[in-house]
Symmetry: D2
Subunit: 362 residues, 4 copies
Amino acid sequence: MSGNSFGLLYCVTSFGESHGPAYGGVVDGCPPGLALSSQDLQRELDRRKPGTSRHVTQRRESDAVEILSGVYEGRTTGTAIGFLVRNEDARSKDYAAIAEKFRPGHADFTYTQKYGFRDARGGGRASARETVVRVAAGAIAKKWLNERYRVVIRGYLAELGATKIPFEDWRFVDQNPFFAASPGLVPQLEKQMDALREAGDSCGARVNVLAENVPAGWGEPVYGRLDADIAAAMMSINAVKGVEIGAGFAAITQKGSEHGDEMTPQGFLSNNNGGVLGGISTGQPVTVSLALKPTSSIRIPRRTIDAKGNPAQIETTGRHDPCVGIRATPIAEAMLACVLMDHALRHRAQCADVVPPLAFRK
Amino acid sequence: MSGNSFGLLYCVTSFGESHGPAYGGVVDGCPPGLALSSQDLQRELDRRKPGTSRHVTQRRESDAVEILSGVYEGRTTGTAIGFLVRNEDARSKDYAAIAEKFRPGHADFTYTQKYGFRDARGGGRASARETVVRVAAGAIAKKWLNERYRVVIRGYLAELGATKIPFEDWRFVDQNPFFAASPGLVPQLEKQMDALREAGDSCGARVNVLAENVPAGWGEPVYGRLDADIAAAMMSINAVKGVEIGAGFAAITQKGSEHGDEMTPQGFLSNNNGGVLGGISTGQPVTVSLALKPTSSIRIPRRTIDAKGNPAQIETTGRHDPCVGIRATPIAEAMLACVLMDHALRHRAQCADVVPPLAFRK
Amino acid sequence: MSGNSFGLLYCVTSFGESHGPAYGGVVDGCPPGLALSSQDLQRELDRRKPGTSRHVTQRRESDAVEILSGVYEGRTTGTAIGFLVRNEDARSKDYAAIAEKFRPGHADFTYTQKYGFRDARGGGRASARETVVRVAAGAIAKKWLNERYRVVIRGYLAELGATKIPFEDWRFVDQNPFFAASPGLVPQLEKQMDALREAGDSCGARVNVLAENVPAGWGEPVYGRLDADIAAAMMSINAVKGVEIGAGFAAITQKGSEHGDEMTPQGFLSNNNGGVLGGISTGQPVTVSLALKPTSSIRIPRRTIDAKGNPAQIETTGRHDPCVGIRATPIAEAMLACVLMDHALRHRAQCADVVPPLAFRK
Amino acid sequence: MSGNSFGLLYCVTSFGESHGPAYGGVVDGCPPGLALSSQDLQRELDRRKPGTSRHVTQRRESDAVEILSGVYEGRTTGTAIGFLVRNEDARSKDYAAIAEKFRPGHADFTYTQKYGFRDARGGGRASARETVVRVAAGAIAKKWLNERYRVVIRGYLAELGATKIPFEDWRFVDQNPFFAASPGLVPQLEKQMDALREAGDSCGARVNVLAENVPAGWGEPVYGRLDADIAAAMMSINAVKGVEIGAGFAAITQKGSEHGDEMTPQGFLSNNNGGVLGGISTGQPVTVSLALKPTSSIRIPRRTIDAKGNPAQIETTGRHDPCVGIRATPIAEAMLACVLMDHALRHRAQCADVVPPLAFRK
């Protein structure tokens, strides 16, 4: 094990490099009998796909997914689901120039020091293109969670650089290239991105993700908390530097009398805790927010060193997202889905015989 | 497995409840030959101990630790290290009143719904008293990391409610009950806590933790990232609602030209990435920041429901920390130590034969 | 993780050494609501206890177990169950003589080479006394499996050295110090052991274990097979050198037409497969057989080397079982119980919604 | 996780079905810098390949393997190694007849009861064709173990039905279709198999596997024993019903004075323990023996039931190995290689700083 699997019972294993022949994954632990086709995965992959607007990388990938096992006559069999996404538009020569230098903010340096050398083509294993595997695995989890428990998982871009993007309505999210939930702001976001691209720079972003209809009781004390596993899953997404659950960092300045969510026979009166108390889901929406750093590969020249340790200057001219956060929404949804599904299975393993004593009067 | 273990190679297993006979833990995977006595654990446990100032819970516990295995003639043998901390001052009658009601912001409700019933005495397994196990396990990790790699792990309280506490010098941290690194602010913090206690309310906090001298190369791509495991470890601490690595949420509004840490032959010029790139340590300090919510158990009356789902009012009169963040510094240090030690072992398992190609000119 | 835990969902962690202060364990993953007291553990521990007849070690241990967590008002809470068994009769001076020599057939040499040194008192961590933890953990599993699924797990001594002990009736097993299922042979076994003890030698044994009423469907393809996990569990017991499921090694000379268990609407007609096909339980009894080597610590002088690598002679005079297989029956039962419980939980995690299509007409 | 991965640090994940598009695997944890090409895997796969003699299944598969990731410029990068073996000669119509009946001795029944339905084409996930993944993963482990520690792993067929096949010399093993180490017996084995095939029946087998040059110190107490992990790995191979280490079941009738391997300054004088003491390697050859049951799919008519539970008769006419044990030698070698490599990595994670105190005088 060297970090390429996650999940205890809904376990995802990933392989592939940016300029290798293919990415692929194995989902182990999916319950049998779920109706599943490659279309179910493709739909989510298409939301994450590069080249869909001028604001993201212009690499042309169909991201067509092939399911290789675990599905028979349209239903999951309960055995391992293997799938493959071939790389189609890998232009490794673009990277010859940077193979011998370390890009600031990139994993070039750390991979080299850890492994002794690195696959420099397109970032190799460190490329965010690996998230195709997460999105495919998340699509299966999303489907099962929805069919079995009516869980709905959705996200949106909440900040693009300095611009805050308020939430208006879910139905806008898939209608613009930014996953913004307020359509009025889209022209401004486009202008902002055009300026950034022109300047050869990049910016950070915030993505919010929610899971609704999660039953109370998922998650485990003490280290296996639902929120701890969510934090790991989100922090494992390329470029993420911060994770919040519920009130998050705002909880620092809250009083206990303000933060603690009061209850009535009809349910909770607020959701500062983000749907998790003591590491276990409350039945309220699970709310997560993440910070993504600006893309490291920019055209603006920067100081660095070369493979021999000598001073150098670098400017990255390959095809890159000027804001990796833009395409992060479906990825964050996928990771949340995988964690929730893992805990759904873990919960019923241990507590299948428990009848929850309380039901809110709705 | 139901969440009470963490770590792949440096694996900590925890048990115990607030008003049960004892807390205990098992550390599996510690290298043999480390000089170790119960005093090494006690020193760290004493930093976390309740009752050391009027600003924390008045529960009187000596937190005396007994090592039961894995140490022979003063050195670790390489086998499992079991240890025990007996509970001494458990006054369960204090909790009779709340056994039949759910405290807002507390795990009472979720444990009941998950397991069908709960040990209500002092929060049972959900009590933050469980962190004695973490601190004991972290003490071993801290010692080994320091002796083997000169790693130094330290933390401090950076915000108490609305008060920001700037970092001045490490030597102040253990000289005041707040783990504040700027002594001039201590009188103000005392006044703030006195007012809060009088009001029967509680407040949140921010804790910063750093690890220095971590070699480049620890951490694993893709899901097994060092920062992902740190995020999980921190989010698993009671009351934590947010985690940042390096620039954290500030990265949202940074430009790529500002965020990406430039390099020279002497090293990095900044540390926005918090010592982790692509999930792997860079050799710079690993910097982590966490948000802790205000204590849920407060004296101010709050709306809730009782065990039958009927409306009720609750005010918690037991002994509680008015700010759980105050005692969180040694706990966060311990969790960071455990994660780093786990990754130190994981790294040398896979990469023991790698000579890092680059060395900065110091 | 250094080998001191086992089980994915019913996870047992063990610590302790033969002459340390105590053995202890943590059971993580037990479903909530199971009625449990220390008596439930003690009953099984007493079956394994040393000193109960002249044919086993004369070390005097009450093996009294204390439950430290995870049980509240007589029922499991779903959180980690910690327990402790204090060592009472550790005479370390007995071992001074052997501390500087390696006993043939013992782990003295391998522990020293692995860890650089060893706790030589009574075999340290390698002592079979560690099996108290297994038996305690198995007692919980046995109870839950029986209450939830009516599973019955029983074993007996099938061979003692060259003497085969045929199975007659379960009710005899707990009525003699050998766990023999045919009472007529007991006087002969006693004579055999007396002669062996007099000669200062030891002998091997075979133990058979069965689990009845295991539902069809437990176990996982391809590596997570029920029989693979049973094989590991049994081979992890001190002194075990071989494991068989069903026909075992006899299957080598069977024809396919003889081995494959035919089926009728009433069920299987034979059980050569030992209740497992394709790694998954069939609904028939799970039958396991294990070979235990003769005790390594004997009075007969043997050639060995000392700590400096020089030739030496050794004879072991401490208190030892002349046949470790005699006390192995409750241990093997415990290990089978733990594995079955783990797979019961794993099965319902993934397949809780499956209704098995077929039912035999009974 | 549903059983399709194994290994803690050298972790193999497997997917694929007999008549699906492909088998594939992911090896996670391989150290970086190992020279590796698909030829290294192909060589071992060709030893296991079907259709190479008239004594094994006549299914025609090239078993051509494609490495999809983890190798860059001919060397492993340290990231996940994904590989694929396409199925070419899947004739699913052969199986239409048996889709509605349960073959005695086969996993048909248990998969159906566990998952609610099954992929009946060629045995689906339960087919021994899955072992391509093991052999490919084992090839990488074999290569690394040999280059890093000079470990040599070899096996041979020791019994074919009632015929014992003594070991003569390793160089014969790859020169006959049986992996027999005594060439004189080959004509008799051929006759035996011809008769069996004519009779439409099948037989069992014994395979012996050895690992030489394994350093002392690999393996972990108490549950993570090297022999326990070997037992699980072997028992997870299709058709295996028994596993022995060293003297195995013969240890039952040995005396302690006979079994315990004496030591001199030059090393051990015998190897009854099979290279493992206390779960840790001794430095002697690790010796393993396994029993494989006769193939379940035979032409002789047998009693069974159909999908509705009604009485039926079945005779299997597809292409099958009349003795699965014949092709098991490379598979058993592969599994032993994977377990040893896992423990090599685990050992150096924890004990990299230990200098073994003793060296034999050779």
